[in-house]
Symmetry: C2
């Protein structure tokens, strides 16, 4: 793969020279041919928007300080594509600048096993955020911009967007965060071709694009999105704006091929073989569909790169030990640990900067201590959860360690698809969910996060930790910051007793180290096992006491990592006898369901039961709501005793 020396980078000149203009123009023409060849060959893809975005792609990847050499590092500009379906345009531009081999992209576009996917993914060098679900790109750009600022790096973030998706509400949220944080280091380019899948913007959903951006405090300029000189001038001007700025690039869908221009049909439809020949002729290019086709069938599709990970240095401090006599809630233990982290990792030091995000719930989710210890690392984003989830995720991919804390219903139920894309993008987000389960207090059904395990089970990368008491919470919080990856800590609202051994000393004591995937044998026994999760652990121990009085001695095993149960623990604790799962979570999708699948798949057949949330819950004091749901310790004892008899 030949690496092209950039003809443009940054804005050293006021205008582009004629030579450069001519070269760029030639690159665009060649790239248009590649867009048509790859989509015709793959018989799918989105040529129309790829052609209208072509000059935007070519020039943005040109002026941005991103190169094949630095795109794995953090000391550079970033570029986020929101309209991920125009991937052919992106791949062609990346090819022109030497990030990828154009002919590989052309040959292996949308082929199983190739990195040149239908929508852009980070496995392609130069792609900083995988998108395709519209509306998340701007928030990702905001996250990168915040990470740059936190790291003290004067680089820019470019975000490229389509126009149809401008009406996604998440974009407005991201705009406001950028404006509040005065992120002058973001430039947005909108491919304003006025056409979306089913027709013109006005036919589908009318909106005043300029007013929308201006209402949220952005500067708006316009230019002809196919005029490279005008586009350069707009980008150059934006680069010195102290305010985030959007450039509305007036473009033509299908630009460059007469019969494709302004035709909605070509939004998502490739050309026929005949049309392809005609189009290439118009572009003055020799067709090479057959050559590309041969390559597609003969060669192995390129896998692309591993998603970049960066070394993270966080001083996680000294664990706090909560004594057996103390009673506090897990969220306070989490908040205390966060506060420690804030103190030990001051900004401007050698360590990776910490960013903590809040959606106006700091007092409840206990991030106020961090805000006090490290105010410049605390970002208040208001009641804008969709954007916040993505902003925090992208910030963690951009060299900060970010944490977002929120109630369970907002941090995962409301933002499930944002967390799914954080997973696809291999981010390093820490998510603190509080008020999970029926332990949300009196807020009622709309606030009961009884599905968080069920939601995280759908992801392949996220780790989930549900600590049992303040000591385990403290250790798990520090673990999360020391470990790469998306990690969620889930906590209830109520104060909990510190779990102890039979001798009364803390179970998770000074010698305890949190290990992802390990279970905690809280009490051994000979009559089967009660598996419990999170804030049900102390209740399980209470149930065990009741059973002991009846001469029944169950083991109590706490599962802090329900997604990572080990086969050996299933064999050891769940292969025979009575097994009862006990959780403050939907019966259908939580620990009980996980245990059952694993047990049966391993070929065991214990007497199995599960206690969990079986309907929408009431609004009342958590203890009352749990009792009403049949989840009190005496319910557990009764159910376990019944299982033994069965």
């Amino acid at each position: 793969m030949g690496v092209r020396k950039k003809t443009v980078q940054g804005f050293p000149e006021k205008t582009l020279s004629l030579e450069v203009l001519e070269e760029l123009s030639g690159m665009c023409r060649k790239a248009r041919g590649e867009v048509l060849t790859m989509t015709t060959l793959a018989k799918s893809g989105h040529p129309g928007g790829s052609l209208s975005s072509m000059e935007m792609y070519m020039l943005a990847y040109g002026v941005a300080e991103i190169s094949p050499e630095n795109c794995e590092t953090l000391e550079r500009d970033f570029l986020v594509i929101d309209h991920g379906h125009t991937s052919p345009g992106a791949y062609a531009a990346l090819g022109a600048w030497g990030f990828v081999d154009s002919s590989e992209a052309v040959a292996h576009f949308r082929q199983c096993g190739s990195c040149f996917s239908g929508h852009v993914e980070r496995s392609v060098p130069g792609i900083d955020w995988g998108t395709g679900n519209l509306g998340q790109g701007l928030a990702a750009a905001v996250g990168y911009a915040l990470a740059l600022r936190a790291r003290g790096i004067s680089k820019r973030v470019y975000a490229l967007m389509g126009d149809g998706g401008q009406v996604k509400g998440q974009i407005a949220e991201a705009r406001r965060i950028a404006a509040k944080e005065k992120l002058g280091n973001i430039t947005v380019l909108v491919d304003y071709n006025n056409i979306q899948i089913s027709g013109t913007l006005d036919q589908i959903m009318p909106f005043d694009i300029r007013k929308l951006w201006e209402a949220d405090g952005w500067e708006v300029t316009e230019c002809d999105g196919h005029d490279l000189q005008a586009l350069y001038a707009a980008l150059r001007e934006a680069s010195s704006s102290p305010t985030p700025r959007v450039i509305l690039c007036r473009t033509v869908m299908g630009k460059g091929v007469s019969f494709m221009e302004n035709t909605p049909e070509y939004h998502g439809k490739p050309l026929s073989g005949e049309q392809y020949l005609e189009a290439m002729k118009e572009l003055g290019l020799a067709p090479y569909l057959e050559e590309a086709s041969l390559r597609r069938s003969r060669n192995t599709p390129p896998k692309g790169r591993e998603i970049p990970r960066y070394p993270v240095h966080v001083d996680t401090g000294t664990p706090r030990l909560y004594e057996a006599s103390e009673k506090t809630d897990n969220r306070s233990a989490f908040g205390n640990a966060l506060g420690d982290l804030g103190k030990r990792n001051p900004s401007g030091g050698k360590n990776t900067p910490l960013l903590v995000f809040d959606c106006d719930l700091a007092g409840s989710v206990k991030t106020s201590g961090f805000a006090k210890a490290l105010p410049e690392g605390f970002i208040q984003t208001g009641i804008q959860e969709h954007a916040t989830a993505t902003v925090a995720g992208a910030a963690s991919a951009g060299g900060a360690v970010s944490l977002w804390a929120d109630f369970g219903v907002f941090g995962i139920a409301e933002t499930y698809n944002q967390q799914r894309l954080n997973d696809c993008n291999g981010a390093n987000l820490k998510l603190g969910l509080t008020h999970v389960g029926l332990d949300v207090g009196e807020d009622g059904m709309t606030h009961q996060s009884i599905d968080y395990v069920g939601l995280f089970r759908n992801f392949f990368g996220w780790r989930l930790v549900v600590p049992a008491d303040p000591n385990q919470t403290d250790r798990a919080t520090r673990y999360a910051f020391a470990t790469w990856g998306n990690i969620c800590l889930a906590m209830g609202r109520s104060k909990l007793p510190v779990l102890t051994r039979e001798d009364g000393t803390p179970f998770y004591d000074a010698s305890y180290t949190f290990e992802y995937g390990a279970v905690d044998l809280l009490r051994d026994g000979k009559d089967g096992t009660i598996f419990c999760m999170g804030h049900m652990a102390w209740r399980a121990l209470k149930a065990r006491d009741m059973l002991l009085e009846k001469g029944i001695s169950p083991r109590v095993v706490h599962v802090p990592c329900p997604l990572a149960l080990k086969d050996e623990d299933i064999r050891r604790y769940a292969s025979s006898g009575a097994v009862l799962a006990y959780e403050d979570h939907s019966l259908h999708t939580g620990l009980g369901s996980i245990l059952a699948s694993r047990i049966l798949s391993l070929g065991y057949a214990p007497a199995f039961g599960a206690l969990g949330v079986s309907r929408l819950g009431e609004s009342g004091v958590s203890e009352d709501v749990m009792a009403e749901m049949g989840l009190s310790p005496k319910d557990v004892a009764a159910r376990f005793a019944a299982l033994l008899k069965a």
Copy 2:
């Protein structure tokens, strides 16, 4: 419970008379006392915003044509509360107008088992939409307004909102839908007290409220939200506006109690006993905390009403029979059935009006036929899925039958929390998910809806149908429209063979009736069972053919309703021998996981295996992507044979 005759209703007079003003003012004063009494008694709740919204609540419930008598019917105004946490204010106003017994609300607020929940729910008469997760209320109001229009009813919808939550992106989406649809029958009142949980609006997330609404085409007026006369004038003027209008009500957080006014602390904090006495004194009211407390402890909490359901009349027409020789995709069969429904249920007729919602994907999700047959029932909402999910849900609760069709990743992953609230609200939404599983074509991981079963499993009310072929799709679509409740149909993208019996005739033939929860014994056998779901059914039959060649004869059972498996079917088909689950869905959360839980809970121990999606998928032709994932018929045959040997 005494029923108060309304002093105001509609806008017969230009201004309120002094007598009426005095009466309303007295009602507000008494209601303020109730807010304070119930929150102090419950030791939780949100008094601050309840007091600032008080005149809005009292007057809106007054002028709106909603009464204790008509609130179970559809021929009336509707009123949606977005800031559901100000429930004490709503309950007190509803008490004043005779919808509920105020003293019951005061005594049983936030008590387990009571309908007077922390956030408003539909079990309280006069509450038209349960909220609490901010941002969904306006979309619900838009849904009701569309349903009114579709039913040809000239009534209004009032939406009451707080100010802090104005930044939720979903609100902007809903505004645009209202403006596009010219819903002059909506009036919005914003409680503009300028304070949210952690401080003033400007401190948390600055925004220009007027610009936001105006940018989306709304008329904006302002008034003093505590001046009943001014509020009446603003409401009256809005009632004759052809354009949707928002009234920014300038209010004071904690209004009426000097030490609560403009104090963020009282957003979510009740008064102490001492403060309560002082506050009641200021309001000129006798305290009655003890009396209310006695009542709370002695009486059974009131359960409230059943969520209203309305008779629905839809002509579902004659099933279409797809012959064995035809090959089409399920989404086209769905679209054809929809088209039939559109033709058979013209607007203006006796039948319940149909509304079909589209987020700019009609061509792909096959709702274009309906749009042609019944254009006035087809609502294009643009790429605004969050609002659309709620709009469609509320429209179905407002007397239309609504359907929203979208790709799986948008219809459930992106809008999980909206569908969760549609569940809480007992709506009657039909959801058509297309492109589910790896069968999305070449779009890649961001578009692979491999979690939809896992997501719906978390709900307690939604029904989910995953049809196996075009014939079952046709029947299930008609079933969904004839049956009350939220029902989802999930379909892949590719063309499928029509399933047949061994004699070559269609399996789901003219005599077939779709029954929710029933499984389909596609082929009997004596060597165990392959359970399959949706578009994997024909592949399972192909695997069976391969196994037959090796002398192995598995049963093939199709499960179209994975959330409603019957115990008897588990016993009959999965209690012993080899059992293999086979699905185009995450291995962790779909059919396999459901089967395992149910099998183990029923005490059976077959040799169990599961084949499904085990990682993020590739971008390529669906068959290739499935093969790469190990989900081709030969993988099934191999795995089943291995299970038999185990």
